[in-house]
Assembly symmetry: C2
Homo-oligomer: 411 residues x 2
């Protein structure tokens, strides 16, 4: 039994986490939110109260913290008495927040792999570079650390584990992420442009034929036919979950596919080829040192500003192939989310919604002990059933489509 939640970060995903925590504060206890800018946290809390989202009267307090400072985060954990930390700040702060959890014994969650701002696409498996090096220390300290518990990574890892239970062996896991929504801007990224573009500028790693395969972004594309969103072109993309799932399913091919329209690819290609996505500083003729990528971020729309006008749906699914009783089997497990519904419920668009709900579900499972495992895990290491059942009731129903039809996935 753990209680009281500290949310790190105050962006679009943090907004969803805050609303969902508030909707379940009877089980989670006191709520706290901290980021570098306290005013951003206060705005999130104000939006929670504006929606009347607090299930029962209780604390929801804002704090300023520099999350790159482990000691400051640890002090805040102690001061607030939080036993559960949901880190949805920048991926650059993951390790300092995790260290604070190891020091204080609080449970840790994040939704994306740790990144060093100075490096792009390190060698695989990416979890091995930072997170897994701290696994033994989590175990020794009895600290529950659930890595990558957003949607992808996160729910898609749990689905792989469900599929594992349905087959004798898995031969391939293809995770397909399609955003068929429209934000109405000429161009925008759906989350922090700096993180968004970094995902696509490095080597694309996939796990195939028992080893890492390297490609470049937009080199390998394929049209996928999915429920609701229909035929969608998606491209082989490097993604967190490939790096943990390939460790568990060594004999399977593990690939991640992200949908992109031609317009996105064109803008990305122009910016990349000109050198404007570089994180290395350039010097202007006037002698000013500046990182091009940070200027691109500065001119693009703030992803949070997209939510009010976002329409359409997302579809994220696992296409898992394997063998059952000597015969080939295939299953699609998926979710469809709606941007407008998400905005109406929690004030964020669908992509933030799908990333922000799962860690709150996990927080509830840690609070009641189900997932309070006292060590560092990726999501596929945990029993997926209680997680999927609770997701079904909290806005992100899982559906399954196989030879027997298309139906709600429930246990």
């Amino acid at each position: 039994m753990k209680r009281n939640v500290l949310i790190i970060g105050a962006g679009g995903v943090a907004q969803v986490v805050a609303h969902k925590c508030a909707q379940h504060n009877d089980k989670l206890g006191e709520l706290h939110i901290a980021s570098r800018t306290k005013a951003k946290c206060e705005a999130v809390i104000a939006s929670v109260h504006a929606k009347g989202a607090m299930k029962v009267p209780g604390v929801f307090a804002a704090h300023a913290v520099d999350a790159t400072d482990s000691a400051a985060v640890a002090a805040l954990i102690r001061e607030t008495g939080c036993q559960i930390v949901i880190n949805v700040g920048s991926s650059f702060v993951n390790m300092t927040v995790l260290e604070a959890c190891i020091e204080t014994g609080a449970a840790y969650m994040d939704t994306a792999i740790h990144e060093d701002p100075a490096k792009i696409c390190e060698t695989p498996p990416w979890y091995g570079n930072y997170e897994w090096q701290r696994r033994d220390r989590c175990k020794a300290a009895g600290v529950t650390a659930i890595l990558g518990i957003g949607f992808d990574p996160g729910v898609v890892n749990a689905w792989a584990r469900v599929a594992e239970g349905m087959m004798d062996s898995i031969t391939s896991i293809d995770i397909v992420d399609i955003n068929a929504g429209s934000h109405g801007k000429w161009f925008a990224t759906n989350f922090d442009p700096e993180i968004n573009f970094r995902e696509f500028t490095g080597t694309v790693y996939s796990w195939q034929n028992g080893g890492w395969q390297s490609n470049t972004m937009f080199e390998v594309g394929q049209v996928w036919t999915l429920p609701v969103v229909g035929d969608q072109k998606a491209y082989l993309t490097g993604h967190d979950e490939v790096h943990s799932l390939s460790a568990r399913y060594k004999d399977a091919d593990v690939r991640f596919w992200m949908g992109f329209g031609d317009h996105y690819i064109n803008v990305f290609t122009v910016l990349k080829n000109l050198g404007l996505l570089s994180e290395k500083p350039v010097k202007t003729a006037e002698g000013l040192e500046v990182v091009p990528l940070k200027v691109v971020k500065a001119v693009l729309p703030d992803p949070a500003s997209l939510a009010p006008n976002y329409t359409g749906k997302t579809c994220i699914g696992d296409v898992v192939k394997g063998v059952k009783d000597g015969k080939p089997v295939e299953v699609l497990i998926y979710n469809v989310a709606d941007h407008k519904e998400a905005y109406e419920e929690v004030g964020s668009q669908g992509i933030s919604y799908t990333a922000g709900v799962p860690p709150v579900v996990a927080a509830l499972l840690i609070a009641d002990g189900t997932w309070d495992v006292g060590t560092m895990v990726n999501v596929e290491d945990l029993d997926p059933k209680p997680f999927i059942n609770l997701l079904n009731t909290m806005g992100l129903p899982s559906r399954i489509k196989d030879a027997e039809g298309d139906r709600l996935l429930t246990f």
Copy 2:
């Protein structure tokens, strides 16, 4: 009779001017070159000596000057005893250099309209905003100031004057500028990206039906069939010479067309729509104030670096229509230049070459008194014949194509 030339600027065009002045230093006297960075001037002079371009032994000296400081430029003019100033620095320094010429009595030339760095595309006629406001003072001081004596503006203005002499009245002047060359880079601008993009981000002004017509860039396109380069798509573009020619030929339509490939237009459109061509500062998440356009300039190839590998040809022409003896007539006057030949002769690509040769021809005509008119003029105000004859011998032959065929234009 005027002697001794001061070149302001040390870029690609200045390089051409330096070489061509050296080739005629028997008539021009001492040569001087000045820019903010003295080392750049020294590099230009070194390239002149490396080619053995000095016709007779003589002075060619480098100087550092801040050309935005009129007094400093005037002091340099006095110190060097230069009576002819060829200003091929940034368009931002035109008025301060002109003021220095008015103060010292030196003849002034430039190749592009003055620009205020804080403004893009002021109201037409552009010459009326800065240059022509100083016409009376030039006249009073007996200062010869030839505005826009590059290729376009410059040679194309002289061609319009030639066509004027061949017709009873002119009904339209279409100036078409095609670069059919290839620099081999994924993307680059042929001259300073800051100036290049500024040309295309504002309103496109053309003179039609006796008034200014406004369009946006790439809104009006047309395929032109030209000698050597063949069919080329060009777009209605705002350009200096439209602003002076429309004053002389009020009853004619005066338009400027620049050739662009789809790739250039795509890159330009992406950068413009994202806000990366803005001259207004943005603030990064880290609080750094930076002008996006200056960052774009910093990541693009230095135009001077393109020269060694530039291949192919440029074709610039005036399509002039009018009436002669009651019948419609049409003439094309044009030049074809070769990037590689330009580089071999003077170490610059063809676009710098076409811009840099004409002011040196004009300097020779000022030196021998032919064009030393003692007032401010645009090129169409001057007798074009000696200019075109001399251009024919100095690397930029004019050709004429009309009902009588295609031949060298000479007088």
